[in-house]
C-alpha cells in the first residue's frame, strides 16, 4: 500500500489537473456523447440507420447551418446573440438569384453576397457597440430589415440556373456511399478557419475575454469595441456564405427561406456546449451541435412522425443543456 499510494495519488492528481485544464471541453464532450448515443439508438431501432450515405448527407444537407453556427459561435462567445442570420441568409440568396437571372456573372455575385452579409453584420455590430443597443434588439432590427428587403427584391421565388452555383451542391466527390459536395467542403473549411481564429489569434482570445468579463477586458487594455463589432461582421459574412450554400441546396431564392433558422443555429451552438453567457465554448462543439440537430431531423423522418417533433425534441434537449450550463456556471462562480 505504501508503495502504491503515491503512484495512485499522482495519477489521480494529474487526472484532476487534466480535468481542471479542460473543464470547458466538458459540454462539448457531452454533445459528442449525445450524438453517439443517438447513432447507437437509431441503429438498434431502425436497423439500417448508421450508413455512410446517411453520414455523408448529414454533413451535406446541413452545410449552411454549420456555417451559420460557426459565425454565431463568435457572437455568443462575447455574450451577444444574432437573430438576423436567417433573414440575412435568405436575403443574400434572393439577391444572388435575382442578379444571376439578369445575367450578372457568378464571379461578381458571390463576393457581393458575402459583402452584403458583412454589411448587415456591421450595422448590428455598430448598434450593439456604439449605440449600446441590446444585441437581441439590434439583431432583431437587422432581421426585419433583411426580411423586408427580400420582399423588395421579389415576392416570387426566383429559380437559379447558374451551373457554378448549382454545382456546389450537385457535384458529388467520392464513392456512391461516401461522398462530399463542395458545399460540405466549404462548411468544413469555415469550421477549421473559425477554430483557428478563435484559438490562435489575439482577436480570437479577445472574443473569449469579452465573454468572460467585458469590463475586465477593457481594463486589460484589449480592443473591446473593435472586437465586438467584428464578431457581428463575421456572423454576417457567415450568413452570406450560408446564403450561397442554401441557394445551391434549394436551387432558388425565396423570400420565406430560412424563417426560424436563426433559432436552429442558436440551438445548435448551445447544444454544442457554448455558454449563452459567453466566454466558454468551441466551434467544434457547434459543428457537433448541428450534427445532433441533423440526426434528430433524420430520425423523425425515419419514424414517419410529424416534422414538428424535430422542434419538440430540440426544445427539450436545449432546455436540458441550458439547465446543465446554469449548474456548471453556478458551481464555477461559487469557487
Amino acid at each position: 500500500m505504501s508503495a502504491a499510494t503515491p503512484v495512485a495519488q499522482t495519477r489521480l492528481s494529474s487526472l484532476r489537473k487534466l480535468i481542471q485544464r479542460r473543464v470547458s471541453w466538458l459540454p462539448v464532450g457531452a454533445a459528442v456523447l449525445i450524438l453517439i448515443l443517438m447513432f447507437v439508438a437509431g441503429q438498434s431501432y431502425f436497423g439500417r440507420f448508421l450508413t455512410p450515405r446517411l453520414l455523408s448527407s448529414l454533413l451535406v444537407d446541413n452545410a449552411y447551418l454549420i456555417v451559420l453556427a460557426a459565425g454565431m459561435t463568435f457572437v455568443i462567445l462575447t455574450g451577444g446573440i444574432d437573430l438576423s442570420v436567417g433573414a440575412v441568409m435568405a436575403f443574400t440568396g434572393m439577391l444572388a438569384a435575382k442578379l444571376l437571372s439578369t445575367g450578372v456573372p457568378t464571379g461578381v455575385v458571390i463576393p457581393l453576397m458575402i459583402a452584403s452579409g458583412a454589411i448587415f453584420g456591421l450595422i448590428v455590430g455598430v448598434l450593439v457597440n456604439y449605440f449600446d443597443v441590446q444585441p437581441f434588439i439590434a439583431s432583431l432590427a437587422g432581421m426585419f430589415l433583411a426580411r423586408g428587403l427580400c420582399f423588395v427584391v421579389s415576392l416570387e421565388a426566383i429559380q437559379v440556373k447558374d451551373t457554378t452555383v448549382l454545382g456546389l451542391q450537385s457535384v458529388k466527390l467520392g464513392t456512391f456511399e461516401w461522398y462530399i459536395t463542395p458545399t460540405g467542403i466549404i462548411a468544413l473549411l469555415v469550421i477549421v478557419i473559425a477554430a483557428w481564429v478563435l484559438g490562435y489569434t489575439r482577436f480570437g482570445r479577445t472574443v473569449y475575454a469579452i465573454g468572460g468579463n467585458e469590463q475586465s477586458a477593457r481594463l486589460m487594455g484589449l480592443p473591446v469595441a473593435r472586437t465586438k463589432v467584428l464578431v457581428y461582421v463575421i456572423s454576417g459574412i457567415c450568413a452570406g456564405v450560408a446564403g450561397l450554400l442554401f441557394t445551391a441546396y434549394t436551387a432558388a431564392g425565396y423570400s420565406l427561406n430560412g424563417i426560424g433558422t436563426e433559432l436552429d443555429t442558436i440551438a445548435s451552438v448551445v447544444i454544442g456546449g457554448t455558454l449563452l453567457a459567453g466566454g466558454s465554448g468551441y466551434v467544434i462543439g457547434s459543428l457537433i451541435g448541428v450534427l445532433v440537430y441533423g440526426v434528430i431531423k433524420v430520425s423523425i423522418t425515419f419514424l414517419g412522425a410529424d416534422s414538428s417533433w424535430t422542434r419538440i425534441t430540440i426544445g427539450i434537449l436545449l432546455l436540458v443543456f441550458v439547465v446543465v450550463q446554469r449548474v456548471l456556471v453556478a458551481r464555477g462562480s461559487r469557487r
Partner: protein, 505 residues
C-alpha cells in the same frame, strides 16, 4: 528632493453631475518609492486613481509622466505609458488560463498566430518574478484569491512597468499572503518601480509605505513622509474636524425609563470569514448604538449582519428573545429590522422613480404587489413623511434622483420608517450631505430613539457618533475592541482608541 517624480498630478479637478469629486488635488510619485493614498469613503481616492489610469478624464489640472504632460484617452493608453493597476475586485478573466491572463493582448506571435509555447514560457517567467509557480494552463478560477492577486501583479510585471497601482490588494488576503505580497512589493521597489498602495489597514501602510497623501472630501489635506507622521495625526487628518464647531444640543430628549430598556436585538459571536471576526453585541429598546471605526474596520459588515442583509456564518442572532436566521433582507424587515445602505446610489434610491414611489416602495413590497395601496392613501402617507422629515422640494412627484444628497437620504429614511420598524440600522446616513442636512438627520435619529425605536448608527465622523449615540462600539481590524459610554468621552479619546495600533495593546 533631488529625484524627479515619475508621476506628477497638479491641480486635479473633477465634477460628477454637480458634485465635486476632486478639488485642486496635487499628487506625485517617485521611482522606487511606495506611496499610500489615504482617505475615508468619498474622499476621492478612487477618482484620482481612475484619472491616473486613464479611466476618467480630469476637468482641469494636468498629469505628467517623467516631466512630460500626458492625457490618457483610455486605460490602454495609460498602460502604454507603463502605468498598471491591480484592482481590489480582481479584474482578471476566470474563464481563461493563468498564462492567458498574464499575456492577453501581448501574446508572442509567429506568422501572425499566437505561439502558445512562447506564451506559456513568458507567463512562467513573469510568475517567477512574483514568486509564483503555477501550471500556466490551469484555469484562473481554480486558484485562490490571493494567488489570483499575484497573477494580476505578474501581468503588470511582465510589461514595461513604471508605476504599479495596488487598490486595496490586501483586503481579502490572510497574514501570510500579505507578507508574500509585501515581499513582491519590496522587490519591485528595488527595481525602481513607483508603487501606489491603497489600503485601509494603517498597520500595513506604516509597514510598507514611504510616503502618504491624505485626501478628504475630494480635497488634498497634505503629503507626508510616513516616518514623520504619527498614526493618530494621520487618522485625524483623514477624518477631519471641520464640523465640530457646529455644536447642537446632544440628545435633548429624555431617555426611556429603565424598565422599558429591554434587549431588542442580541447578537452572540456573529461574524463572516474575512469580513468581521465573531462579535457579540446587544441592542436595547430606545437606544442609539454608534459603531465607530475606520473604513475596513468591519463596521459596515457588522451592520449588515445585524440587519439580516448578509447572513452570519458563526454564532447566532436573536430578536425579541427569539433566535432568528435571516437569509434575506425581507425576512429581517418582516420582523421589524430595517437597513439603510451606505451605498445610496446603488443600493438605495431608485433615481428614476418619484419621491412618492421611493417612499412607498418598502411598504408596498411588504403588503405584496397584489394589494395595491390606494392612491389617496399613498398621497396622504407621502405628504406626512415629506412634512415630518422636511424633504425639499416638498413635491411628491419629483424624481428622486434629482434631489440633493441630504434629501435623498431623508427619502430613504422615510421609506424605512413607513414600514414601522423596531430596529433601524443606518450605515453612514450622513455621508456626502451638507452640514445642515446632517444635523437634521441627526435630529430625526434622536427623535426616533425617543419613541422607543432602536438605532444602529454608523458614521466616519467621530464627533457625530459621539453626539448621536447612547453607547459606542469601537471596531478595529474587523474586531470589536471596546464598548464605551459617550458621556465620559471626548473626540480625542475616541480618536485615540480608533487609531491605536494593535501592537500597542
Amino acid at each position: 528632493m533631488d529625484a524627479q517624480p515619475v508621476l506628477e498630478v497638479v491641480g486635479a479637478q473633477l465634477r460628477f453631475a454637480g458634485d465635486t469629486a476632486l478639488a485642486d488635488v496635487d499628487f506625485r510619485m517617485f521611482p522606487g518609492e511606495v506611496h499610500s493614498l489615504m482617505g475615508e469613503n468619498g474622499a476621492g481616492k478612487s477618482t484620482l486613481i481612475k484619472a491616473i489610469t486613464g479611466a476618467l478624464r480630469l476637468d482641469a489640472g494636468s498629469i505628467s509622466v517623467d516631466g512630460t504632460t500626458v492625457s490618457f484617452s483610455s486605460p490602454a493608453a495609460a498602460q502604454r505609458a507603463g502605468i498598471r493597476t491591480v484592482y481590489q475586485e480582481i479584474d482578471l478573466l476566470s474563464n481563461l488560463s493563468v498564462a492567458e491572463n498574464i499575456m492577453l493582448g501581448r501574446e508572442p506571435r509567429r506568422f501572425g498566430f499566437i505561439d502558445w509555447r512562447a506564451t506559456r514560457l513568458a507567463a512562467r517567467e513573469a510568475m517567477r518574478q512574483v514568486g509564483l509557480e503555477l501550471d500556466p494552463d490551469s484555469l484562473l478560477s481554480s486558484h485562490s484569491l490571493a494567488v489570483q492577486q499575484l497573477v494580476a501583479i505578474a501581468r503588470a510585471v511582465s510589461t514595461e512597468l513604471r508605476i504599479l497601482i495596488l487598490d486595496e490588494p490586501t483586503s481579502s488576503l490572510d497574514q501570510d499572503e500579505v507578507a508574500e505580497l509585501f515581499g513582491v512589493i519590496r522587490e519591485l521597489k528595488a527595481r525602481g518601480v513607483a508603487i501606489l498602495f491603497v489600503s485601509h489597514f494603517l498597520e500595513q501602510v506604516y509597514e510598507i509605505c514611504d510616503r502618504v497623501t491624505v485626501l478628504r472630501n475630494g480635497s488634498m489635506v497634505g503629503e507626508y513622509l510616513t516616518t514623520e507622521l504619527l498614526r493618530i495625526d494621520l487618522v485625524q487628518k483623514m477624518l477631519g474636524r471641520d464640523i465640530s464647531e457646529l455644536d447642537i444640543e446632544s440628545r435633548s430628549t429624555a431617555p426611556l425609563p429603565e424598565s422599558d430598556r429591554r434587549v431588542v436585538l442580541s447578537a452572540v459571536d456573529v461574524g463572516r470569514a474575512h469580513r468581521i471576526e465573531p462579535t457579540s453585541v446587544d441592542l436595547l429598546a430606545g437606544e442609539v448604538l454608534g459603531l465607530a471605526g475606520l473604513l475596513g474596520s468591519g463596521r459596515t459588515e457588522l451592520s449588515r449582519i445585524l440587519s439580516g442583509v448578509d447572513p452570519t456564518e458563526t454564532g447566532r442572532l436573536s430578536y425579541e428573545g427569539k433566535q432568528r436566521h435571516f437569509s434575506e433582507p425581507r425576512e429581517a424587515l418582516a420582523v421589524g429590522v430595517a437597513y439603510s445602505s451606505e451605498d445610496r446610489k446603488h443600493e438605495g434610491i431608485i433615481a428614476e422613480l418619484t419621491v412618492r414611489e421611493n417612499i412607498l416602495l418598502a411598504l408596498q413590497a411588504e403588503q405584496g404587489w397584489v394589494r395595491r395601496i390606494a392612491r389617496r392613501r399613498q398621497d396622504e402617507l407621502t405628504a406626512s413623511w415629506i412634512e415630518a422629515l422636511d424633504i425639499r422640494p416638498a413635491n411628491p412627484e419629483h424624481p428622486a434622483g434629482l434631489l440633493s444628497g441630504g434629501n435623498q437620504q431623508k427619502v430613504m429614511l422615510a421609506r424605512l420608517l413607513a414600514v414601522a420598524p423596531r430596529v433601524l440600522v443606518l450605515d453612514e446616513p450622513t455621508r456626502g450631505i451638507d452640514v445642515g442636512a446632517k444635523i437634521e438627520v441627526q435630529r430625526v435619529i434622536s427623535d426616533l430613539a425617543a419613541t422607543g425605536m432602536s438605532v444602529v448608527f454608523i458614521s466616519a465622523e467621530l464627533e457625530e457618533v459621539l453626539r448621536v449615540s447612547d453607547r459606542i462600539l469601537v471596531l478595529r481590524d474587523r474586531r470589536a475592541v471596546a464598548e464605551l459610554d459617550p458621556e465620559t468621552l471626548t473626540v480625542d479619546m475616541l480618536l485615540a482608541i480608533v487609531a491605536k495600533a494593535d501592537s500597542d495593546e
